[in-house]
Amino acid sequence: MSSTASPAPRRTALDALHRSLGATMTDFAGWDMPLRYGSERDEHTAVRTKAGLFDLSHMGEITVTGPQAAALLDYALVGHLSTVGVGRARYTMICRADGGILDDLIVYRLREAEYMVVANASNAQVVLDALTERAAGFDAEVRDDRDAYALLAVQGPESPGILKSLTDADLDGLKYYAGLPGTVAGVPALIARTGYTGEDGFELFVAPADAERLWQALTGAGAAAGLVPCGLSCRDTLRLEAGMPLYGHELSTSLTPFDAGLGRVVKFDKEGDFVGREALAEAADRAREKAPRVLVGLVAEGRRVPRAGYPVVAGGEVVGEVTSGAPSPTLGKPVAMAYVDAAHAAPGTPGVGVDIRGSHEPYEVVALPFYKRRK
């Protein structure tokens, strides 16, 4: 186990609690975060079958307010945020002028003239800087709210029942990708029906000072339903099974949303210019006519696990690269996401493998996601 010299990692409001639970901690994007509390496979299974509780306070919240908040976000992001209703949320991206992805985001419209942009921890500063720069000339304010929130997530099929026991908020009326202000266990919270696990679940944005009280209340309310604390390790395998991209793996500044198979987030039909429009229009044409590489799923026939950066091979040639790989607890086999040359990207393409430290292991090309919950 090696460690690299870097500034002391930041700690969330729940740091002492994680340590008291015996969590294995890891440095993630400059934060000291729980990797797992016990077995990451058990944590993964709990989220798929019962419920899991996550501390996601490393995520970066940025508030955008003002009469032109909507117009600013339509200009600064690739999505059509002015059409998002109050109380709803949207998955979107922020790109450079050349179309490269700076980050993927969830944007909540809290009021007519107030949005909350949630960025990945690793990109929060970049997103904040870009939004601030792009706000020039707009009657809107961009506010760094990273320290204003702790973020707890309750994910899994039992999560609605667990949360219902702690709040009067109308959870049945709260649709997927919606968020409403409410009170949970006496704690004021923005209650959002979002997540990154492929399961039903909620994300609760609260004041850091309230985080521990809320964690304890959720732990108590969820105990009988099988809720367990969950670390980032299982969050990664959960999102991988659900085919969800992770910035730095499937997404980067050298790729456009179209390269990542997520061109649908780019809304060309919105009014006015937006950052990246021209480059993204070209990227859309390119993707339609001759996609260089395609993001696919790979399922192992053997047991050796592909890792990010491993070459995808066919007929002795490198035809792609693994972006994320892990043993899938749900499938019971190693799985990976990979960018693969279009000629080898169709599900069922024979002869595709992954070069696992010099040995070519056979893999099946499949459509993403690997796992889809029954609704």
């Binding site: 990451e40 892990a326 043993p327 190693p334």
Partner: protein, 125 residues
């Protein structure tokens, strides 16, 4: 956790039992198993292979990483634990018992293996 007194330990976090009729058992420590997380794949040396103290002889994969397996001793492999190949979780659940990895006919033992107390201090657990 406690590291069994009757075993000796390498700084690569393997344990070695006292040899019986010249054959010793090798595994990884609980400290190492905990650090790896859930082990999902184990590649062991094959019976008849010669392993060398301090050199890699297999690999262990967990959810998050792959790690080389180092032999704590030099000799010939006489048995590999098929149970752990079939059920790698044994490495996590019983690292000092059912999760043993292979048995080796000892040709030469390195002089720098640690006692249980020394290893506890070295690993911090």
């Amino acid at each position: 956790m406690s590291n069994p007194q009757q075993l000796r330990y390498s700084k690569e976090h393997e344990w070695l039992s006292a040899a019986e009729d010249g054959v010793a058992t090798v595994g990884i420590t609980e400290h190492a198993a905990n650090a790896l997380g859930d082990v999902v794949y184990v590649q062991l040396p094959e019976v008849g292979d010669t392993v060398t103290a301090g050199e890699t002889c297999g690999e262990l994969e967990s959810t998050k990483s792959v790690s080389d397996l180092y032999s704590p001793v030099t000799g010939e492999v006489v048995e590999a634990n098929q149970d752990v190949v079939d059920d790698p979780a044994l490495v996590n659940s019983a690292p000092f018992e059912g999760g043993w990895l292979f048995k080796v006919r000892v040709a030469q033992e390195p002089a720098d293996l640690l006692t249980a107390d020394e290893y506890t201090e070295f690993s911090g657990s």
